[in-house]
Amino acid sequence: MKASVIVFPGSNCDRDVKVALEKFQIPTTMVWHQETTLPPTDLVVLPGGFSYGDYLRCGSMASKSKVMHEVIKHAEKGGYLFGICNGFQILTETNLLPGALLRNNKLKFICKDVFVKTVNNRIPFTKKIPDQKVLSIPIAHNEGNYFANEDQIKELQDNQQIVFQYCDKQGNIGLANNPNGSLLNIAGITNKHKNILGMMPHPERVIDTLLGGIDGEGIFQSLL
């Protein structure tokens, strides 16, 4: 398994995710957004941050940058593609994942640990996480309010594309534990072919007890 982390102007979780990947012995190359080729890679990561200063819409400018042509080709060939936070926003802006991420319903930037439930552990990114496992992972975003139209939501449900949902410590999914207004408490989704994962929580921030937790490890272990 080899990984590439795409670096956009304004990315700020790129090195965190590199540290996380390398902790699990995944050799990682950083790739600048103006590159027109990718190094040989099995996994491409779109990291968190504020690419292009969140101008126009979060992720919209990054989705049109040069390297994204190669990233889209990589994903279309079945390569793994993982977008975290701003990376998730970029994935929806490229239409690689359905829906969009709107302003949080309370209009506040939210930076805190939340609980998410792993509702699909049959994809390459979650296959080593026990079914329905509740994980504590931090979120840090202003636009994480997942929205999709009725048809898209039905399709997500029919194809089991919802991967993580916000919940409480016991795993109850409901309005009381929805931090940002996301439809169906959606925190992360996959595509139909299950080779792309987008999620708002930051698993790369919880891979070491010294940093406050290890609940993010399951995703990186699943990729090995």
Binding site: L56, R57, K64, L102, R103, F147, N149, Q152
Partner: protein
């Protein structure tokens, strides 16, 4: 040719910013004002003398970048 473009959230998409602006407006005593929706406004020049072609280019800009058609809709108006 000069165009102006409005990009707004679709009716079915909640607009919490618009709601916040609305409650601030009402707290100023302007209680007759309601249903505030916030959007984006662009002006742009298109170096093209054919009106149909210019309009088509503005349309393409909206579809490809200025609006996210999952959540937004746009309107284009020619200014000159």
């Amino acid at each position: 040719m000069k165009f102006e473009i409005f990009v707004t959230l679709k009716k079915e998409v909640l607009d919490p910013q618009g709601k916040a602006v609305e409650s601030a407006i009402q707290s100023l005593g302007l209680s007759n004002i309601s249903n505030i929706r916030q959007g984006k406004y662009f002006t742009l020049d298109i170096n093209e003398s054919d009106q149909t072609k210019a309009h088509a280019q503005a349309e393409e800009a909206c579809k490809k970048l200025l609006a996210n058609l999952t959540i937004e809709e746009y309107s284009i108006k020619q200014l000159s």
